[in-house]
């Protein structure tokens, strides 16, 4: 399985929003974070930053609700969920349906846009200075999580002694 996914480590994120900038430049040619496909959610008073990008869900609500199937899955292309701008009617149903609040309405193009992994080379990953975002094999992500859980379990066992 060579499917890759975007992984965010919110503890590393400093909230610089460089990812938003490079994303908008890559996709629109404009240095305009409001047109970016990734958004950094900030809780400034707590110092918490959470970059949110599309999860390309296995059961994608945006695909389910799209009236024209502009929002579709591309199994041949990293199994990503993407929006065909030529078919999108701009109804924004996908934005309402997505639990992660991800697809965004591009006011310039009048259609909905979303993360497409920059065709295999996500710019947010390339430019993130603190490596808060990574593009990893889905299998490895699962392994990393299992390892993290195991370490946490060991720690709790040690504290219990």
């Amino acid at each position: 399985m060579d499917e890759k996914v975007l992984i965010v480590d919110h503890q590393k994120c400093t909230g610089c929003r460089l990812c938003e900038m490079v994303c908008s430049v890559f996709h629109t040619g404009a240095s305009n974070p409001s047109r970016s496909r990734i958004k950094v959610i900030k809780w400034e008073d707590a110092g918490l930053y959470l970059p949110m990008a599309c999860n390309h869900c296995e059961k994608a609500y945006c695909v389910e609700v799209c009236p024209t199937k502009a929002c579709h899955r591309e199994p041949q292309n990293n199994n990503r969920v993407t929006i065909d701008k030529k078919l999108c009617i701009g109804c924004r149903t996908c934005i309402i349906a997505c639990p992660f609040g991800h697809p965004f309405f591009d006011v310039s193009e009048r259609v909905t846009v979303k993360c497409d992994h920059c065709d295999g080379d996500p710019q947010c990953v390339r430019f993130c200075d603190v490596k808060a975002i990574s593009f990893l094999d889905a299998d490895k992500v699962s392994m990393a999580r299992k390892r993290e859980s195991a370490y946490r379990f060991i720690d709790s066992m040690r504290q219990g002694r």
Partner: protein, 348 residues
């Protein structure tokens, strides 16, 4: 159930109500529901063989023929739906592409809605045209017309229910994701539709008072308003109990930013004033002004009901936000020891 109970981390970033569908969609839902409800009630009146008195109607001559307008006041529902349908198109990013949705009827509820509304509008207008046009060959009481009426009646129901299903299909908003919403919109469509019909015939003597048809219609409308109130209560009660965001939605609607829409628009205009005014009017027979005011307020109430429910839709909380909330809480209870708090202070 107080606004103060909402955690500060909520209602700020992600737990804001949705802002994608606003007034234009509310108008669309309202007109579709009211038009369909009016057609349902009108068809039932027609099937009950209520004797109507069309003498007040103006006579219109077209190409040497006199149009028969006797059924227009009870069958104009499809016209209202036809006026409302373009509002959905108006809300699209690229308007002309609505045709793409029509060409893909099986894909989603938005697309199915295009088809349901289109069929209802076409059938309804055909039936309206049939009742208006004076040609003899159009009027034989054939089984075919009756079947067409039944199909149109079913599609009128489908249109009224669809307005709720469109929102229900949004699974990530707990307030909307319930079978009570289509029921609420159906009942509201019937009550506003019947009231719109009463208003359109008010003071004209279209319904002969002796036969009591208008009285029955008004009584039915009042019953529908009461049922609507009960369904609305159940809808809000279920929304409050079902999830944290459902609770936030109800708080927002009842005590938060939308309280004017809810208490002023829905409760006062949609329920209390019409019921009081209609009760007073029942003691003053022939007082059309009171019924007119009550009806107009009720119609506004129907619109505000849809607007309020649309504007109070808050999305479900994803696990990552929940985690953030827990971290926020833990930092609040133990500020000095948390490195994240220090970083937050430096950055903030």
């Amino acid at each position: 159930m107080r606004t103060g109970d909402i955690h500060p981390i909520r209602n700020t970033k992600y737990l804001r109500p949705q802002e994608e569908w606003k007034g234009i969609i509310a108008i669309y839902l309202y007109l579709a529901g009211m038009g369909a409800g009016s057609f349902i009630i009108g068809t039932l009146i027609g099937w009950c063989n209520v004797k109507l008195d069309p003498s007040f109607l103006p006579s219109i001559h077209l190409f040497g023929h006199t149009l028969n307008l006797s059924a227009v006041p009870i069958l104009w529902g499809p016209v209202i739906v036809a006026i409302g349908a373009p509002f959905l198109i108006l809300d699209l990013g690229i308007k002309w592409r609505f045709i793409y949705a029509c060409l893909n009827p099986k894909t989603s509820w938005v697309a199915r809605g295009f088809i349901i509304l289109s069929i209802f509008i076409v059938l309804g207008l055909v039936l309206l045209a049939k009742s208006v046009l004076p040609f003899e060959w159009l009027h034989p009481a054939s089984v075919l017309w009756r079947i067409l009426e039944i199909i149109a009646f079913i599609f009128a129901f489908a249109t009224a229910i669809y307005t709720g299903i469109l929102l229900k299909a949004t699974k990530s908003i707990p307030l909307w994701n319930t079978g009570l919403l289509p029921l609420l919109f159906l009942v509201s469509g019937l009550s506003t539709g019947s009231m719109a019909m009463i208003l359109s015939t008010l003071g004209t003597g279209f319904f002969p008072h002796d036969a009591g048809a208008l009285k029955v219609l008004m009584g039915g409308e009042q019953v529908l308003v009461v049922i609507e109130g009960i369904v609305l209560y159940l809808f809000l009660f279920r929304g409050y109990r079902v999830a944290e965001q459902g609770k936030d939605s109800v708080r927002l609607l009842v005590f938060g930013e939308m309280k004017m829409i809810f208490w002023g628009g829905v409760v006062l205009l949609g329920f209390i004033f019409p019921v009081i005014l209609e009760s007073i009017a029942s003691f003053l027979p022939g007082n059309a002004v009171l019924i007119f005011v009550a009806g107009t307020l009720l119609l506004f109430g129907g619109f505000f009901l849809r607007l309020g429910i649309l504007r109070a839709g808050i999305k479900d909380q994803i696990p990552m936000h929940r985690l953030m909330e827990i971290r926020y809480n833990s930092m609040a209870s133990n500020p000095p020891s948390s490195p994240l708090t220090l970083r937050g202070k430096e950055g903030g």
